[in-house]
Subunit: 407 residues, 2 copies
Amino acid sequence: ATLSAKNEGKGKRVMIVGGDGYCGWATSLHLSARGYKVAIVDNLCRRSFDDQLGLNSLTPIVGIHERVRTWGELTGNDIELMVGDVTDYEFLGESFKSFEPEAIVHFGEQRSAPYSMLDRSRAVFTQYNNVIGTINCLYAIKEFAPDCHLVKLGTMGEYGTPNIDIEEGYITIEHNGRTDTLPYPKQGGSFYHLSKVHDSHNIHFAAKAWNIACTDLNQGVVYGISTEETMIDERLINRLDYDSVFGTALNRFVIQAAVGHPMTVYGKGGQTRGFLDIRDTVQCLQIAIDNPASKGEMRVFNQFTEQFSVNELAEIITKAAPKVGLSPEVINVPNPRTELEEHYYNAKNTNLKDLGMQPHLLGDNIIETLLQYAVQYKDRCDKTLIMPSVSWKESGSKVVTHGNVKA
Amino acid sequence: ATLSAKNEGKGKRVMIVGGDGYCGWATSLHLSARGYKVAIVDNLCRRSFDDQLGLNSLTPIVGIHERVRTWGELTGNDIELMVGDVTDYEFLGESFKSFEPEAIVHFGEQRSAPYSMLDRSRAVFTQYNNVIGTINCLYAIKEFAPDCHLVKLGTMGEYGTPNIDIEEGYITIEHNGRTDTLPYPKQGGSFYHLSKVHDSHNIHFAAKAWNIACTDLNQGVVYGISTEETMIDERLINRLDYDSVFGTALNRFVIQAAVGHPMTVYGKGGQTRGFLDIRDTVQCLQIAIDNPASKGEMRVFNQFTEQFSVNELAEIITKAAPKVGLSPEVINVPNPRTELEEHYYNAKNTNLKDLGMQPHLLGDNIIETLLQYAVQYKDRCDKTLIMPSVSWKESGSKVVTHGNVKA
Ligand SMILES: NC(=O)c1ccc[n+]([C@@H]2O[C@H](COP(=O)([O-])OP(=O)(O)OC[C@H]3O[C@@H](n4cnc5c(N)ncnc54)[C@H](O)[C@@H]3O)[C@@H](O)[C@H]2O)c1
Ligand SMILES: NC(=O)c1ccc[n+]([C@@H]2O[C@H](COP(=O)([O-])OP(=O)(O)OC[C@H]3O[C@@H](n4cnc5c(N)ncnc54)[C@H](O)[C@@H]3O)[C@@H](O)[C@H]2O)c1
């Protein structure tokens, strides 16, 4: 299997920080297939978290060097690989000087809320890794590539669950007879979500102070596994997390259903969030790159296509499962997080649609495909990793070692 | 000179992080004089910044060991001294275990906006030092002193200069027919101010998740030098910063007037901020400690007494100066910062007044006293340190060494 030739990117130089991760790998291939010149920057810490905690991807992902080599061999499109840490400015500076990016997509952060709440040391790591990495990207753009467009991944979780509509990044407030448009108030629900809130504030400032073009993508929960490019060879397969630390809502339920584990609804299950298909992640990234922000501006897009409550997700899967011969159960487990379990939720997401984004909605089709996919790899699943293992309330200074993470 | 006996504090155990600094030293003595059991925690990095950059306090401050010893000898009130870094959790944990604080006042951060904008390395240091120090304080309370009240110093600068009234920490927003009270939107104007914004978000989360009592004091610019206690012996004298990196608006103008340097108005001088006398800083801190926040709540007070524009400050000093034989000039220097120079500003500050705070307002009297005080030490002033030396726009990755800081 090979790909049809595409050339929408016309050689635009895009640096993908975190390009070995779930969203980053799919985005790298999507852009490379379309004629963009891609460099992956990654320190591979995500793989090391799996090693530390005894976790694994449901899908058998190969090493990043083999991934990149395979892609080049199969398609003739070379992706440059730079292994290193964006909190190391010397490394990042050299990467900028040699690659000369026109856009940098920054996926390269510690992205698990439970990981950030495991213990004090991981809370500190998460905020350091994410906040300092982003500050470094801003300084590197300022110094080495002032016209480079920063496309930064934030999360819808930055907003929390306010009792009013969630706007895209900014809100116009009328107060005591005066009006201003201000950054939307943020209420992150873990040290991870808060690190993204901090990033957004830092980027907002630096964009203005240094006249940098920035896009902050407040992404919803991503589901799915296959994009056109990751399917052409098993060595290009993407990661699929199912454990309670790195797995995310919809993907986790699908895998639980596939391996015969009850679907784990936390608390009452009324928690509502924005979701999107990974095929829309790569689409949105391309749109953001093709339509850069203005210099001096932090533009904000809410990057999700539909809202669901946890109970709705469980229901959707329960309904679709019999078509592939499965009959999953649901259990309500005590909520390990500090969050509202019943709340108003209405978030705007028109900016990306206005730029032409065509959503893949969550229909029975995609659920069936996902379930089949998960069934295919179900023997790789370690079921002891499924139940929640990190409690927000119990996060302490004692460093959690491998043994403690399993429930 | 000794002090009249006071005992409002009745042995309450208060840990003062940053107790060797400008606000922290005055607060430590104020509380110790009033019967609180005080421990100072400080890593003395503020003194090291002076060493690094060739700066000095206008007043001749002695070492912290001698300060504390002198205080004990003169008053019989012992202050415990713990020299160490709150970013070092092992140290902080031991301090908590041995002192068992009932309240912790956290002044211990890198607090200069220009210092945070000197270069990338100092930007990173500032956010690391401040954000991680505060996370550690939260974990230490959770683990070792769950009933301890955190009183954390933020800054009015967290709010920026919105075109609507500034409320105290939270704002009630009506939007599309629904209403919620949310954290007030923040727009920090330097990596320093942003570090405080990050702290506020982290504290807001941890207060709720871990049921901790927190007070966030958004303090205005502090002026003045003497509190009742720091005046009883020259070895107890407080620091007074006049250089362009650590000096703050009103104090700097007073010293410039005293040493015959024109008062340096940045840009148009319409920048308006909240101010307070250092005697009100110590008063406010005592009020916050005596009236703790509820557990699970981050209470926010805007801690300032009056608003002035930079031009108004220059005018007030120009008017008062002749009474002490001075006739200062004003110069407008190019603004090294990224900020609005003309803007709406109306900030609320009723919470502390409702708890009984009695402001010392900025009258001619205090200006005259301050000018005379500055004249007394004017020979210690290095005038080359006065002109602005740190440009927001030029902040880069090249580490600034001593020589570059002087204008
Ligand atoms: N997956 C989701 O559902 C989701 C939802 C919202 C937002 N996001 C955001 O999108 C981004 C990517 O998410 P993902 O699911 O692909 O995560 P991931 O963990 O699979 O990928 C992140 C990658 O970044 C790398 N990385 C982390 N820190 C780094 C550093 N300091 N230097 C260099 N590389 C570093 C990791 O090794 C990893 O390969 C993250 O920023 C995440 O917060 C993801
Ligand atoms: N001075 C002002 O006008 C003003 C205005 C608003 C807010 N504030 C805030 O009030 C607090 C005190 O301000 P200040 O003017 O007294 O500052 P300062 O620099 O004089 O004092 C801060 C003290 O904290 C110590 N410190 C810093 N990092 C530390 C760490 N990691 N561990 C232990 N000790 C550490 C320093 O050595 C110093 O003694 C700061 O948080 C500041 O942001 C001050």
